[in-house]
């Protein structure tokens, strides 16, 4: 089996970089203002019949008690999140047993770390590839507003420029208890979800 190529490369890396550069520039131009948070439906009142409420209750209980997280671990908050998953703070008490490496098997994205413009298209692509009932927790000051690096030339001021965020957990990095409190608030939000609403 002899494959001998001097450069062993079958792509022109300059070309690939140029295309990626364009994608990043377009995203940077197009996401100047924040995406509104998806919680308008929280305060709408809808009529409920007995059948719908029991189905809602079962489905919401099922979904909120086994939130699997997609990995989106750029920076320091990643290690507070791993510590939260670790033996001491043990997120698996909430059914968040496994960190799923692929977005297909995940329904919650915890964005643990600073988002830079070069990383933004990838995060949005991961979010789009997650299955439908999906939520986002923006963990840490960098995720909420760019945090300590907000004045930098290559940092996105907050994940809500790129993906809709459900729960914001402040802190730099937030303590695992703060993250668990954020997850509990997300669970309360899921509990209010209903099939009657479009959303």
């Amino acid at each position: 089996m002899e494959i001998s190529r001097a450069e062993n490369r079958i792509y022109s890396d300059k070309e690939l970089d140029r295309i990626e550069g364009q994608v990043i520039e377009e995203l940077r131009q197009s996401s100047q203002e924040a995406i509104p948070d998806p919680d308008k439906w929280l305060d709408e009142e809808i009529e409920k019949n007995i059948f719908l409420t029991t189905v809602d209750a079962i489905i919401n209980w099922g979904q909120r008690s086994s939130l699997w997280t997609a990995i989106c671990f750029p920076a320091c908050c990643a290690f507070e999140f791993i510590a939260a998953n670790g033996p001491r703070f043990d997120l698996s008490r909430f059914g968040m047993e496994i960190l799923r490496a692929s977005p297909r098997q995940a329904d919650l994205m915890i964005t643990a770390g600073t988002l830079t413009w070069k990383m933004a298209p990838n995060v949005r692509r991961i979010y789009n590839q997650m299955a439908e009932p999906k939520w986002v927790i923006a963990m840490g000051a960098c995720a909420i507003s760019g945090g300590i690096f907000a004045s930098s030339y290559s940092v996105v001021p907050g994940y809500n420029r790129v993906i809709p965020v459900d729960v914001y957990v402040p802190g730099c990095p937030p303590r695992p208890e703060a993250l668990i409190y954020g997850i509990q608030m997300l669970q309360q939000k899921i509990a209010k979800k209903s099939l009657a609403r479009k959303g």
Binding site: D17, G21, I24, E25, K118, S154
Partner: protein, 146 residues
């Protein structure tokens, strides 16, 4: 204790070898012409009693009317270090010879200098941006970058 090689001593040796290469010396650094950078670097690395074959770091500093590129080299056996500096005066298209042939460790660091400061390095194997994306306007670490 890591000993700092004296700038004068090294400058004297360099003057012998390559007359007119050193412009100015400090107590532990020498400023050389960018034309004779490769010769001096090669000499410093391969001379037996100096043996400066370990490149600590390469960085560039923007002094408004010139860029100063600092090579901090040291030798692990003799446990001494030295700083080699060059200056580039042209601000639109600053170019320097690349030292990747002499110290392989300069590969990523020179790309970083090109990416953030804008100094191009000739016959560097992979001269393109390392941190920022391709279409990024300008070089952020320059003093006149807003």
């Amino acid at each position: 204790m890591t000993v700092a090689l004296s700038g004068k001593e090294i400058a004297r040796q360099l003057e012998e070898k390559f007359p007119g290469s050193t412009v100015q010396t400090d107590e532990s650094s020498a400023l050389v012409q960018d034309k004779s950078l490769l010769q001096t670097a090669d000499f410093l690395k391969n001379s037996p009693e100096l043996g400066l074959n370990y490149l600590n770091f390469v960085t560039a500093v923007d002094y408004f009317d010139y860029f100063e590129v600092v090579y901090r080299i040291s030798s692990l056996e003799h446990n001494h270090w030295f700083t080699l500096k060059t200056r580039v005066y042209d601000r639109e298209d600053p170019v320097l010879p690349s030292v990747v042939g002499i110290w392989k460790g300069a590969d990523f660091q020179e790309r970083e200098i090109y990416d953030l400061m804008g100094i191009k390095f000739e016959n560097h194997p992979n001269m393109k941006r390392i941190f920022l994306w391709d279409g990024f306007p300008g070089h952020p670490l320059r003093k006149d970058y807003l």
